[in-house]
Amino acid sequence: MRRAYQTLAGLVLGLAANAYGGTLVVHVDDGHGHPADSAVVTLESPGGDAAAATPAPATHTIDQRDETFIPYVEVMRPGEKVVFRNSDNTRHQVYSFSELKRFEYVLRPGTSSPPLTIDGSGIIAVGCNIHDEMITYLFVTSAPARVTGKDGNARFEGLASGSYQLRVWHPQLKPGDQGARLETVIAEGSSDTPLKAHLTLLPDPRASMDREHMGY
């Protein structure tokens, strides 16, 4: 009954749906009730719908400022480029041993790396060999993906009604932890009631973190 209604609504309001569509808010917390930012929520299926709206390949810039990669997590689509820019007045040695892409650039202050095309999907952890606390993640996926903000929310809009599977990943997941998987049904005019995802996170390894004072 409900399904018939949804189908009908999709047919009647197809355009409107495309224009306005359903909205999905996913709220990610760190398991302690704190909103987790920098989490990546991926809309895994159905993913086909989004392909139509695929924008042209873009070049992503990862800035390095105050010995910090900005942003912490960058979502990219396969085939897009990434440039590492050193805005500090210190040298940075950007590297990654990830399986998807291995690279190493020594960036003097004010310089940028040449654009690096990322092929294939996956997560590339990028660090600085000079500054251990510097780390950034390139989340390469063809599926729609959003990064949670400070409020821990990721927002998808214009979603067609239907059943969706989501995955929630965070750079501070414990090694081996695949993150959270969610499933939801989007209906016309559905409320903004956030979908909640709970993650168990390691401490933030970035500048705020001082491993030598973590108790090691």
Binding site: F97, C128, D132, G176, E212, M214
Partner: protein, 776 residues
């Protein structure tokens, strides 16, 4: 060792008290110190154990930090990123050396060991302690693990490249070296042990700290739980405070604990020398105390023993004063008193002995001493005992009293001693002295006795009194008259008694005339038999009637024909019979026999009056009258046919009773005659009272009648007097015709004597005097 004397006991008591107090104080001090040490030790141990745990923690932190730094080495990261196994292993080894780890492992995010410096070529196996890895990215992960009999800190450090790429596990051994090092750097107790308990096995020590003292192996074997607060424990004779601490461990690993010991013995060591010194001083004090006590005791006991020995000597009769003791203490005073006492006792005993052996009046040795002197061994076999009797002493005492008697005896003793010279003189009875001549024979004794008689013949003069002593000397000679003192004394006394009755006043003992010979006693037994067996007979001596010239009466005289001794004279047994109480029996026999004879003669037509002698003892028998009366009745003769003769002395002994008895006899009709008249202590007063019919003049007056005018006067007077008193007179001992003639002339009634006839058996008497009338 001498017996514990008083002073020693006191000294020992004080020594013992001091030592007891000291020991108590020492024990108390020890206990207090020990408790304090235990308390402090416990606190210290707890602090130390906390420090130990903190240090161990520091070690883990240091290792972790070092590994952390190393983990950021780009070479390692790139080697891991490039999965360059050989490079990873060499870098791990290198880093391991830097941090002091004996084993470094690289564990992948999948929990599998990717590189292990201990097993270089090993295939990837899951890391044994998965739990250790779990929190490795959250914070520091370290655990104490036991492996292959060793204990390690295992520190897990994540590797970021830049995201978590793996974990490095560093194993730092906690071994003897480490513990020793820790002890050197801090004030950890010397006894630190790491122990582990593999599953199903007892605890075992895997590492221990340095120092000589060690908790003995197996100290905690069998204990399931270690004390987490200090407790006292003993092992191998040593005391420890022990405490155990555990460490963070991986799940499922064998238990590991650190046992910290605090050796009380070691803690007490500084005090031990104090206690040893203390104990040494105590022992020294004890030894000194005992030694000085012994010295004191010896100085006390020696003189006391000497005094005791002296006391034993005194007990044995040796009154020599004990050896002088020049001491100023109590013992010296005691010794002085003791000496004085000894001398006093000696003098007193001398006096007692003197009194016991001496006569108080004369100062001469007494009878006991005399006997001892006589018994003393002598050089010659011949010896003489001279006994001097002061025969008049009883009369003197009765007359002038004991005081003068004593002075007289003292004087006599002095005279005797003067003459005796060095010879022994003693006083053996109230009236008798002895002079013992152990080397003199009969001749010399006689000569000395004569001089004694001269000396003592002089009267004792005091004031107006001049008293004759009446000395009499009896002499007994050893060995003829006896050898022992008792015999000699008795024989000398017998001789002295004999001498008292003699004119010369001197007599030697003569066994033949001794009326007290012991063999007389045996006669008594024989006498009883003699009465029963008819050994006794009566002989008759005629009494001639001087006016008619006929024999009208006879005196019955007893004769004893002894089967062994032959004829025993009456004197030999009458006296003994009197003394032994047999006289009554003898008298009855005599009376009976005489009455029987009188009856037979009367029946034959000759009523001869028969006279029998009564003893003084007979008169003491209250049944005498009745018995004689009965016998007379039995024989059927008139009482007048029997004359009973008594001596004056028999009456005088107990006049009232004797007179009563005689009157009763006289009343029955018996004739009473006084025998031996004139020689005794004749008293006409008694004579007048006595119911007598006849006087018998003693033969001493008749024997010399023919020649002695004095006797004649006496006899004539007696006859006159008797006749005037109405008594018949019989003269005894008429031994010649002249005497008979004179008796007849003065009117004496009867005569008796050898001139007429001696006593003869009854048959002979009857044949001679009862056949054809009397002849004279």
């Amino acid at each position: 060792m001498p017996h514990l004397g008083f002073r020693l006991r006191v000294a020992l008591f004080f020594v013992a008290t001091i030592i007891a107090v000291q020991a108590l104080t020492a024990g108390l001090g020890y206990e207090v110190a020990r408790r304090e040490l235990v308390r402090q030790g416990g606190a210290q141990l707890e602090a130390n154990s906390n420090a130990f745990v903190a240090q161990m923690d520091d070690i883990a932190t240091r290792v972790a930090s070092s590994v952390q730094i190393l983990s950021q080495d780009y070479g390692l990261r790139s080697a891991i990123g490039e999965q360059d196994h050989g490079t990873v292993l060499s870098i791990l080894r290198n880093h391991g050396r830097r941090v002091g780890a004996t084993r470094m492992q690289l564990v992948g995010l999948d929990g599998k060991v990717q590189a292990d410096t201990a097993h270089a070529g090993a295939a990837a196996v899951p890391f044994a302690r998965a739990t250790l890895l779990q929190g490795a990215f959250d914070g520091r992960k370290a655990a104490v693990v036991a492996e292959n009999g060793a204990v390690f800190w295992q520190v897990v450090v994540p590797i970021y490249a830049p995201q978590p790429a793996g974990l490095v596990v560093a194993s730092v051994p906690i071994d003897d070296k480490l513990l020793s090092h820790m002890q050197e750097l801090s004030t950890l107790p010397r006894d630190v042990e790491m122990m582990t308990r593999p599953a199903g096995k007892p605890w075992s020590v895997v590492a221990h700290g340095g120092g000589e003292a060690r908790l003995p192996p197996g100290f905690f074997a069998g204990n399931d739980h270690f004390p987490d607060a200090p407790v006292l424990a003993q092992s191998g004779g040593r005391e420890y405070l022990v405490l155990a601490r555990s460490f963070p461990q991986a799940a499922g690993d064998p238990e590991v604990a650190a046992v910290l010991g605090y050796s009380l013995d070691e803690a007490l060591r500084p005090y031990r020398s104090v206690w040893l010194t203390w104990a040494g001083l105590l022992v020294l004090g004890l030894v000194l105390g005992v030694l000085s006590s012994l010295l004191i005791a010896r100085s006390v006991s020696r003189p006391v023993e000497a005094l005791a020995a002296a006391a034993r000597r005194i007990e044995a009769g040796d009154y020599r004063a004990p050896e002088g003791m020049r001491r100023n203490d109590e013992i010296g005073q005691l010794a002085t008193s003791f000496q004085a006492m000894t001398v006093a006792i000696g003098q007193r005993e001398e006096r007692i002995r003197e009194q016991a052996l001496h006569d108080a009046v004369t100062g001469l040795p007494n009878r006991v001493a005399s006997q001892a002197a006589i018994e003393r061994p002598r050089a010659t076999s011949e010896a003489t005992l001279v006994m001097l009797g002061i025969t008049r002493l009883p009369d003197i005492i009765k007359t002038v009293g004991h005081a003068l008697g004593d002075r007289l005896m003292h004087d006599a003793g002095r005279r005797l001693s003067d003459l005796a010279g060095s010879r022994f003189v003693g006083r053996v009875s109230d009236t008798q002295f002895v002079l013992w001549l152990p080397d003199a024979g009969r001749t010399r004794a006689t000569e000395l006795a004569s001089r004694l008689l001269d000396a003592l013949g002089r009267p004792f003069v005091e004031g107006d009194f001049s008293i004759d002593m009446g000395p009499a000397i009896g002499i007994a000679c050893a060995p003829g008259d006896g050898e022992d003192a008792a015999t000699l004394l008795r024989h000398a006394e017998v001789a002295q008694f004999a001498a008292a009755g003699s004119a010369r006043g001197l007599a030697f003992y003569d066994a033949a005339t001794d009326p007290h010979r012991p063999d007389r006693l045996s006669l008594m037994g024989d006498l009883r038999e003699a009465i029963d067996q008819g050994q006794l007979t009566l002989h008759y001596q005629p009494k001639l009637d001087l006016s008619s010239g006929r024999v009208m009466a006879a005196e019955a005289l007893i004769r004893w024909q002894h089967p062994r001794r032959g004829l025993v004279p009456p004197d030999a047994f009458i006296g003994v019979a009197e003394e032994t109480g047999n006289i009554g029996r003898l008298t009855r026999w005599v009376v009976n026999d005489a009455l029987a004879r009188a009856r037979s003669w009367t029946e034959a037509g000759h009523p001869i009056n028969i006279a029998v002698n009564l003893s003084a003892r007979d008169l003491e028998d209250p049944d005498l009258t009745r018995r004689i009366g009965d016998l007379t009745a039995i024989h059927g003769v008139p009482t007048s046919i029997l004359t009973l003769e008594v001596t004056e002395s028999a009456v005088i002994a107990d006049p009232a009773r004797a007179l009563q008895e005689l009157r009763r006899l006289a009343d029955l009709g018996f004739k009473i005659a006084v025998d031996d008249f004139g020689v005794g202590q004749s008293s006409f007063a008694y004579l007048r009272q006595m119911p007598i019919h006849e006087l018998k003049i003693d033969k001493t007056f008749i024997r010399n009648l023919a020649s002695d005018e004095g006797d004649r006067v006496v006899v004539r007077s007696i006859v006159d007097l008797s006749h005037r008193l109405g008594l018949r007179v019989t003269a005894e001992g008429a031994e010649d015709a002249a005497a008979l003639d004179y008796l007849r002339e003065v009117g004496c009634d009867c005569a008796q004597g050898y001139q007429i006839a001696a006593a003869m058996p009854a048959l002979a008497f009857a044949e001679r005097f009862l056949v054809d009338g009397p002849t004279a």
